[in-house]
C-alpha cells in the first residue's frame, strides 16, 4: 500500500489550509461565487439537490483498514451514518455542512487521504483494476503507474483549468476490469515482442451524452515515456479542446471532430518536444514508489476446512461461486463484497459495515481493501482457510449477498434522489428490479448479466455499457426510461443500442421482465448468458418482447 511520505503529508495539509482560506475569501467577497465554485469543486465539494456533497478520492481504489475506519468516523460525526461508493472509486458523503468540510479534510489527511481533484475541470482520481496486485492474470500491478500519474497530475500548473474534466484509467491485465476504452485516456499494461513492459495508450473514449469507444493512439509506449507522453496529450487537449460549449469540451469531441490521425500527429510531435524538455522522474523515485506496492508476505496454508464447508453449506458454496475470484496464490482468494443487497441503494455502506469490513481486512486480508467501479468492495488477499469465517462475519453485517455479476448487481447513479443534474430517479428503479427478480427467485437462473442505470444523459451509471442499459429522462415533467441493449464494458467495449420508445416508471419493470423472459425462452442452455443470446439472435426478438404486438395495436 502506498503510504504518504513527509512531502505528501505537507502537501495535503497545505491544501486543506488553502481551502479554509478560500472559504474565508468567498465570505469576505474576495472571490466571486463562480470563482469559489471552481475552487471548491477542485477540492471535491459539490452543491447537490438538497445539500453539499463531498467526494473523497480513493486513489486507484486501494485503501487500508485505518482509512476505511476514518470513513466510518466521518459518516457518524459529520454525515448521516453512511457513505456512497462510486463508479470512479471514490466515496461520497451526501450531507456535510460547509462549515465542517475543512475539518473533514483534516480528518482525512490524518490517514493520508484527500478530496483533491475529485471534481472540476482537471485530471481526476486515476482509477485502476480493482483486482490489481492480486489477480492471476496480471502482467504488472498498475498501481505504481497510477500513483506516478497521481503525483504528476496533482496541482499540475498547466492543467488545473482544462476545457472539461479529464479521467484516466489503467489496467495491468489482459482482462480489462477498469473500462479503459471509456476514459479520456485509458492505459493497458502489456509486453511487446521483446518482452518489455509498456503501455497501450487509448484516448477519446467516454460515455455521457455522446458515447465513444476510445482510439488507440500508441500500440506500445515504453514505460519510461509515460509522463512525457501523457503531458503531450494533455497539452494538445488544453490548447485545442473546445471551450465554447461544455457538452462538446471533452477530449473525445476533439478527437471526433479533428480526427484521430491529426490528433496523433499533434501528440507525437508534441511528445518529441516533451521528451527533450520534460525531465523524467529518476529511476530512484520510480523504484521508491514501486516499493510501496510490494506484495504482502503471503503465507503457506492448507484449506481442507474450506472444501468441507462448501460441501456442507449450499449457501456458502453459492457465495464462493459468485463472489470469489482466483488469486495469484493458489491458497488465497479474492473476495468481492456486494454492496447490492436486495432493495438497497447500490454502493451505499453504513458506518457499521465499514468498520466490519475494516476489521475483516485487518485480520484476514493483509490490511487491504479495494473499491470496484462496479460499486462493490474487494478483500484482495484472503486465505481460503479463512473464507468460512470471513463469510460468517459478512453475513452478520448483512454483507454476504451472493449476487456478483447477477441482475441485482446493478450500477446506478444517485439520480434524482440526490443529484442536481438528474432528470429521473435511478436508485428506486434499481431497488425495484432487484426486489422483483428476488421475488421471482430467478436471479441465479438468469446468471451473468450487467444491468446499469443512469438518471440522466450524463451517464454516470454507465448505462451505455450495460448488457441492459436504462436511461432515465424526463418528458413533459414525467419520467421516461429508455432501454439500450448490447453494451459491454470489457476490452470488447461496445455501446448499447436503443431498443425503441421509452417506458414510463410503471411500465419499466414489466418491460424488463418481458425482456428477461424472452432470454430465458430463447437461450440454448444455461451456459449461454444474456449477452451471448443477444449476439447470436440479434436484437429483434428482444425488441419484440419489449414491445409486444398486442400493446402496439392498443396504442394504435
Amino acid at each position: 500500500m502506498y503510504a504518504y511520505n513527509e512531502f505528501d503529508q505537507k502537501f495535503v495539509r497545505q491544501r486543506v489550509s488553502q481551502f479554509r482560506e478560500q472559504i474565508e475569501k468567498r465570505l469576505n467577497g474576495s472571490l466571486s461565487e463562480e470563482e469559489f465554485r471552481t475552487l471548491r469543486l477542485m477540492n471535491g465539494l459539490y452543491l447537490q439537490l438538497h445539500a453539499y456533497m463531498l467526494r473523497i478520492a480513493i486513489p486507484y481504489g486501494s485503501l487500508n483498514s485505518d482509512q476505511m475506519r476514518k470513513f466510518a468516523y466521518i459518516a457518524d460525526r459529520w454525515d448521516k451514518g453512511y457513505g456512497h461508493f462510486t463508479t470512479r472509486q471514490n466515496i461520497q458523503f451526501n450531507w456535510p455542512k460547509l462549515e465542517n468540510v475543512a475539518d473533514i479534510l483534516d480528518a482525512l489527511a490524518d490517514v493520508n487521504m484527500h478530496a483533491i481533484q475529485t471534481s472540476g475541470n482537471c485530471v481526476r482520481n486515476v482509477t485502476a483494476d480493482h483486482f490489481s496486485g492480486a489477480s492471476i492474470d496480471e502482467i504488472e500491478d498498475p498501481r505504481p503507474s497510477a500513483e506516478l500519474l497521481r503525483q504528476w497530475s496533482t496541482d499540475h500548473p498547466q492543467f488545473q483549468y482544462l476545457p472539461r474534466k479529464f479521467k484516466i484509467a489503467i489496467t495491468g491485465s489482459p482482462n480489462d476490469r477498469a473500462v479503459v476504452k471509456a476514459h479520456d485516456i485509458g492505459l493497458r499494461i502489456l509486453r511487446n515482442q521483446q518482452g518489455e513492459v509498456g503501455y497501450q495508450v487509448i484516448i477519446g473514449g467516454g460515455l455521457g451524452r455522446s458515447p465513444f469507444v476510445g482510439h488507440t493512439i500508441r500500440e506500445f509506449l515504453p514505460k519510461a515515456d509515460l509522463l512525457p507522453y501523457i503531458e503531450a496529450i494533455l497539452q494538445v487537449y488544453n490548447l485545442g479542446g473546445r471551450r465554447d460549449n461544455k457538452y462538446k469540451a471533452r477530449i473525445k469531441i476533439l478527437v471526433h471532430e479533428t480526427g484521430i490521425e491529426e490528433i496523433t500527429r499533434r501528440v507525437e510531435e508534441n511528445f518529441k518536444l516533451q521528451k527533450s524538455e520534460f525531465q523524467k522522474p529518476s529511476d530512484k523515485l520510480i523504484a521508491a514508489i514501486e516499493k510501496r506496492f510490494l506484495a504482502p508476505d503471503f503465507e503457506q496454508s492448507t484449506y481442507e476446512n474450506f472444501e468441507a464447508e462448501r460441501s456442507e453449506s449450499p449457501q456458502f458454496d453459492i457465495f464462493v461461486k459468485r463472489n470469489i475470484a482466483d488469486h495469484r496464490r493458489e491458497n488465497y482468494a479474492i473476495v468481492t463484497v456486494s454492496l447490492k443487497n436486495i432493495g438497497q441503494t447500490p454502493g451505499d455502506a453504513t458506518s457499521e459495515q465499514m468498520r466490519v469490513l475494516a476489521d475483516i481486512a485487518q485480520r484476514f486480508s493483509h490490511d487491504e481493501l479495494r473499491i470496484s467501479h462496479e460499486q462493490n468492495i474487494i478483500l484482495p488477499h484472503v486465505q481460503k482457510r479463512h473464507l468460512p469465517e470471513v463469510y460468517k462475519l459478512l453475513q452478520a453485517a448483512d454483507l454476504a449477498s451472493a449476487n456478483i455479476g447477477l441482475i441485482s448487481d446493478i450500477i446506478a447513479c444517485p439520480g434524482m434522489d440526490y443529484c442536481a443534474l438528474a432528470t429521473a430517479r435511478s436508485i428506486p428503479v434499481a431497488k425495484d428490479i432487484s426486489r422483483r427478480f428476488d421475488e421471482l427467485k430467478l436471479e441465479h437462473e438468469i446468471g451473468d448479466i450487467k444491468l446499469k442505470i443512469s438518471g440522466c444523459i450524463n451517464a454516470c451509471g454507465h448505462h451505455h455499457l450495460g448488457h441492459i442499459g436504462i436511461l432515465g429522462l424526463e418528458k413533459g415533467g414525467i419520467e421516461n426510461y429508455q432501454i439500450t441493449l448490447g453494451g459491454a464494458a470489457d476490452l470488447t467495449m461496445a455501446i448499447g443500442k436503443r431498443a425503441g420508445r421509452g417506458f414510463s416508471a410503471e411500465e419499466l419493470l414489466p418491460a424488463i421482465e418481458r425482456l428477461i423472459g424472452a432470454y430465458l425462452d430463447l437461450r440454448t442452455s444455461r451456459e449461454e448468458v444474456f449477452l451471448s443470446s443477444l449476439k447470436r439472435l440479434g436484437h429483434s426478438p428482444f425488441i419484440e418482447a419489449l414491445y409486444p404486438k398486442k400493446e402496439s395495436q392498443n396504442v394504435a
Binding site: F7, Q14, S30, L31, L39, P157, Y161, R243, K280
Partner: protein, 147 residues
C-alpha cells in the same frame, strides 16, 4: 516597494507578490497574444522582443498556462505577462508555467488585496511536478512516514 492600490489606475502589475504600477515602455518590442492563439517558436526568435503578453478573458480559461510553458520551452528569455481576470489562487500556477508577472484590473486588485498575492506566491514551492522531474530524490521517498 509595494504600492497601495489607488483609484486612478486602470490596472496593476503583480510581480514578486507585490502590486506595481504598469510598466514604463521598455526597450524592445511587446507582442500580444490572445488566449489559445497559435504560434510557432520561430515567431519569437526575434531577439528584439522584450515582452510577450497573453490576454485571457476568463479566469477559468487555462490555455494561457500551456501557451506560457510552450513559449518558455521554445527558449524565450524575455518577460512573459498574463493579462486578464486572474485570481490569486492561480498566481503560483502562472509562475510555475513560466510567467513573470500578471496584469490585473483595478477592480480585481481591489477585491483581492496585495497580501493574498504574496501569500499565494509561497505556494509556488513544494509541488509534485518539480519534485518528480527536477529534484534528486533524497531519503524521504523511501522512508515510511510516522503517521
Amino acid at each position: 516597494m509595494s504600492l497601495e492600490f489607488t483609484q486612478d489606475q486602470n490596472s496593476i502589475i503583480v510581480r514578486d507578490g507585490k502590486f506595481c504600477p504598469p510598466h514604463e515602455q521598455k526597450p524592445g518590442k511587446t507582442i500580444e497574444l490572445k488566449s489559445g492563439e497559435n504560434f510557432t517558436p520561430a515567431d519569437f526568435s526575434d531577439t528584439d522582443i522584450a515582452v510577450i503578453v497573453i490576454n485571457v478573458l476568463a479566469f477559468n480559461d487555462g490555455r494561457a498556462f500551456s501557451q506560457a510553458k510552450k513559449i518558455r520551452t521554445s527558449g524565450f528569455k524575455g518577460i512573459l505577462r498574463l493579462k486578464g481576470p486572474v485570481i490569486a489562487d492561480q498566481y503560483p500556477l502562472a509562475i510555475r508555467c513560466g510567467f513573470d508577472e500578471l496584469e490585473i484590473s483595478a477592480s480585481e486588485a481591489k477585491r483581492q488585496p496585495q497580501f493574498q498575492w504574496s501569500d499565494a506566491l509561497k505556494r509556488t514551492r513544494d509541488n509534485y511536478l518539480t519534485r518528480l522531474t527536477e529534484m534528486e530524490v533524497n531519503g524521504d521517498q523511501s522512508e515510511l512516514s510516522p503517521a
